[in-house]
Symmetry: C2
Subunit: 190 residues, 2 copies
């Protein structure tokens, strides 16, 4: 197992059902169904266009309870798009971490442990779609850039989604211990 | 992604709270909290001695909603223990599959899709403990073998546990499509 350290730079809650933009907070509370008060919380959700292996609208397990991005990767996206910054809130992230250069590459099953005992588990990479691109270009209307530029610029940099393994709180400034487990079939199997 | 096929040889329900032995059925129903009527169902459970990273008794996500074994691996365990058979019911399994030689090696994130749409997802290898060994030796009292022999004989052969991604039923004789996703950081990362 590899251990890494990061810092919580900001946290957000998705309390506006009409927008993907989230609201910054000093702390968020999570329980085993997700971020308390966030529209993506729940043990289950409906399959959407991302879930090709399920009929659209069918009830499935909710493995997208939270969304996280990294400050370092957002800086790369901004540079690629030729803009000053990409605010985590514009991407609908619940938390933005600093200190992990290739955050989006953390494999499924990696865990994020916070000082008060909260544990999040990584489910999958969050693949970019055009909607956050629309939010971003609305912040820089004079540049005349296309929302689809975001999709290209943020591939493998758009962060991770996952589930909650243990309830608790997450505060701005928290140290986060990230555990990356050994890949299966490479070290364990006989 | 690698696709494999298996067949459901038997299914079981854990309806006896006093014993790990499960009861054979012709079909089981699963929903997003686990196997309906099984004592291991639930979105959450209490951390136990297997969960070294959590304080004992703390409420955590239940990633052990179901347990599965393979007929081929049980035959190897029986041979190693010098006994005629190991019944899946004695190990507390919910299902026994046939057709996958190294079933226990399927990595986390692999999915099992059944004919009626039910989807299970693999969480982790089920590491052997001594309790099923006690059940097994009670079936062969004349042999005078130790329950701990089971632990040694079944390492990396004791099957898998996991969660439910889509509700439905699982019947004896069902064909199962197993999807093993690419390992992260080997083919996807840039």
């Amino acid at each position: 197992m590899i251990k890494l350290m990061a810092v919580v730079q900001s946290v957000y809650i998705g309390d506006n059902s009409a927008s993907l933009v989230k609201t910054p907070r000093q702390l968020i509370e999570v329980n085993l169904s997700g971020v308390v008060g966030d529209k993506h919380a729940g043990y289950t959700r409906r399959a959407d266009s991302r879930n090709k292996e399920y009929p659209r609208g069918v009830e499935i397990r909710n493995w997208r309870q939270w969304s996280a991005v990294s400050a370092e990767e957002l800086a790369i996206i901004a540079e690629k798009m030729g803009i000053l910054e990409v605010d985590p809130a514009w991407l609908g992230a619940n938390l933005c971490l600093a200190g992990i250069p290739n955050f989006t590459c953390l494999p499924k099953g990696s865990t994020l442990t916070f000082p008060h005992g909260t544990v999040l588990e990584v489910e999958e990479e969050n693949f970019p779609c055009v909607n956050p691109g629309k939010v971003i270009i609305s912040q820089f209307p004079h540049l005349g850039i296309s929302p689809s530029l975001f999709v290209k610029a943020s591939m493998h940099l758009r962060g991770l989604v996952g589930i909650v393994n243990r309830s608790g709180i997450i505060r701005v400034g928290d140290q986060v211990q990230i555990s990356v487990y050994d890949l299966p079939n490479l070290s364990e199997s006989v």
